[in-house]
Subunit: 436 residues, 2 copies
């Protein structure tokens, strides 16, 4: 059995359940919504990731003996609440944007309909997964946009928490990265993994030549040799001497990459290694990748800036109660008025308005009713969990494949400005339609 | 049995082992070092966290059937390497700075001495843990410095990966936070957890008054009521009416906190609630906390900026081979020359030079030999694992307690400038002493 995910939450989710049970309001039917009030400054769109992981962990969101004993020992909640938690499994319905979908401010990314108590205790877990994974996917998508079809490799594991690293690899691949260095991501989600050698491998050996010989003997001539441990020019010459004309690639990990890529390309060509690829790594972000567009680079390895969301390590999504039953059994839309943090009450529908060329022109969000739409407009909300039943296709390796397809189709619809690095407003506006 | 940590690593760590096994260099004795080339820009010191978590996961860094099957299926490594991995458990020695210690550029935070292969495969895992935990602890420490002994509560779980959240809570408490909202952190490390209610709890009920009544009925008058769902003044008045003079606290989560705290304090005093505390939350970072110094605030709840390292979500530590045996059995110091990424070869010793008033004046790092020191100077390096044996006291709840003590003593030694928000150079210089 997988470890329970139920304590990956905030203390107050459980004290709220306790108070609501005592007040007789815990069983009120409720709709909670996940959305982002804004995109990170200057970003033109966001890329949703994490939905599959949310659903994977939902099955393990149970309170077993270990969890209940802890809550009892610490007196976090009372006996009645402990009994409620012991019986808990999510029986409600979750709808939302498919993983890999593009989103904008106010897009209703996930809606949870259930009793208040059931939806309440999921808050922290849902937001943790979606905020991290989406931050990485959104940054990754910008890198892909300027990589001009050159392959990008995710290699940031060492720059983030050891488990975040696995999620980051998954999110990067959903966004368009071709491979990851992270082995657990390979195992959990069937992702392609890749890697050759670090500087330490060169330093271990008595000479760079011996290190290259050892690597080629094991990984073959098609491997990529890291040539900047000592002198780059000598490194390239030695690499070619050792591996011959079939050398797969050389990796540059320091210095002025634009200039270096140019003369290394010339040198490789001069030595007859016209098919040897140049892979660059060294602290790349979307701006550095864009600046390498004209340089003879064949692949990018991206680490720190990818797994930390390139300046925006969290997506800023919130989880708000937007509608609930009252004493009288009637639904009532609710919203808080807090300054700068107001929310829009009501159950949402959403579609992407597309013009005759199939390009997106608006994010249309209906409040309580589905606004009129043309045949071209695309419905954005899909059922993920229905009355506690996980819908098929969203989790595991299949979920990743499906998210990749969704991302490709959704990116294709975006106006060209989305693929530019210029800061600006969201590339299409969010239009709220209230039928009341 | 805890899940294996051994695939939380980069593909290339294993291909390097394979190539080194084939070349006969895998068993060369080696020293790897973890250090940071620099602190985040403008920061005056760093606070090391994660060491205990590294050691906890080290015991589970084993390759069982599931891991080996994956590596074999994917042909990541060959049969010989699979056999080596199947037998692997770390038998080497790890020394380093104690968790909770202050550090500076070049401080030798961890040194791993073992065969090359054994040390090599730990790289990604060690760095993931230390880079994340230290980023959070370093940011947290700056917040504590300006909080002037007002309690700080960690509540950022929803803004980072669900497991990072647990590590972030642990790191925050090592840095001086008084409690966390994260329940799993409470369970795993014995940390105090806390929490009351969110806006959704108020919105669930037919009025703010009913919500407050429900909360007070369950959590008692000593609870903290969230008063900004609708109108703050009305919220405060209702809170006092419902809970009476013994109301524990009110929470402000939006708006201009400095101004609001002032008039809410006046209002509470006027209503006779002179002991009711004011807790502020709303996107605080160290600058916002510093700006609230003169406001009548009693506690800070910190989320996003804490768990994302307040602008620096990773500590930038690297893991470098600094010395290794050669063919002749002689140790040889090694370092790469890569532009901007050069490293200092050689096994390190380190102590903090203290003046007659017990204040730190320099970080002294010896290369291959321990430099002369006075009686006052404090040795920074402690044994963590000796010949594969974990040394006691560094892991679990005990490890956290010990790290808190270390942090208190080490912060006390720092010059006063460390506690200011002004950007600047590291508050003491790192001095390398090479006896050769």
């Amino acid at each position: 059995m997988a470890p329970a995910t139920s304590l990956l939450t905030d203390h107050y989710e459980l004290t709220m359940v306790e108070a609501a049970l005592a007040a007789g309001t815990a069983s009120r039917r409720s709709v909670f919504e996940v959305f982002a009030r804004r995109l990170p400054e200057g970003r033109r769109y966001g890329l949703l990731a994490g939905t599959g992981r949310v659903l994977e962990g939902l099955a393990d969101f149970r309170f077993g003996t270990a969890e209940l004993d802890f809550l009892a020992d610490r007196k976090v909640v009372n006996e009645r609440t402990l009994n409620w938690l012991a019986d808990f499994s999510f029986k409600g319905t979750i709808t939302g944007y498919a993983e890999g979908e593009i989103y904008f401010p106010g897009s209703p990314l996930l809606q949870v309909e259930s009793t208040f108590a059931e939806a309440c205790i999921l808050e922290t877990y849902l937001l943790s997964v979606l905020n991290f994974d989406t931050a990485v996917a959104s940054a990754a998508s910008r890198m892909i946009a300027v990589a001009d079809d050159r392959p990008c490799i995710e290699m940031g594991s060492r720059r983030t928490h050891e488990h975040s690293a696995v999620a980051a690899a998954r999110a990067a691949i959903i966004a368009g990265f071709g491979a990851t260095s992270n082995l657990e991501a390979g195992r959990s989600y069937g992702l392609p993994t890749t890697g050759t050698a670090a500087h330490s491998f060169t330093l271990l050996h008595d000479s760079e030549r011996e290190a290259f010989q050892a690597q080629v003997a094991t990984l073959g001539q098609g491997t990529t040799l890291l040539v900047d441990t000592y002198d780059v020019e000598q490194g390239v010459r030695t690499a070619v001497e050792v591996a011959g004309p079939e050398l797969g690639g050389v990796r540059l990990d320091s210095g002025d990459l634009v200039e270096q890529a140019r003369w290394v390309r010339s040198l490789l060509d001069e030595l007859g290694n016209t098919n040897t690829r140049i892979v660059v790594t060294s602290d790349l972000d979307e701006y550095a990748i864009a600046s390498l567009r004209s340089a003879p680079v064949d692949a990018y390895g991206v680490g720190t800036q990818l797994v930390t969301g390139s300046g925006h390590p969290t997506a800023g999504m919130v989880y708000k109660l937007v509608s609930r039953e009252g004493n009288d059994g009637q639904w009532k839309d609710v919203a808080k008025a807090a300054i700068g943090k107001a929310s829009v009450g009501g159950r949402k529908s959403a579609y992407r308005r597309l013009n005759e060329r199939g390009r997106a022109t608006a994010e249309v969000v209906g409040i309580d009713e589905t606004p009129e739409r043309t045949e071209r407009d695309r419905d954005l909300i899909v059922p993920l969990v229905v009355d506690g039943e996980l819908q098929p296709g969203f989790t595991g390796a299949d979920g990743v494949k499906r998210a990749i397809e969704r991302r490709k189709a959704s990116i294709e619809e975006l106006p060209g400005a989305a693929r530019q690095m210029l800061r600006g407003e969201p590339v299409i506006p969010t239009v709220f339609v209230d039928e009341h």
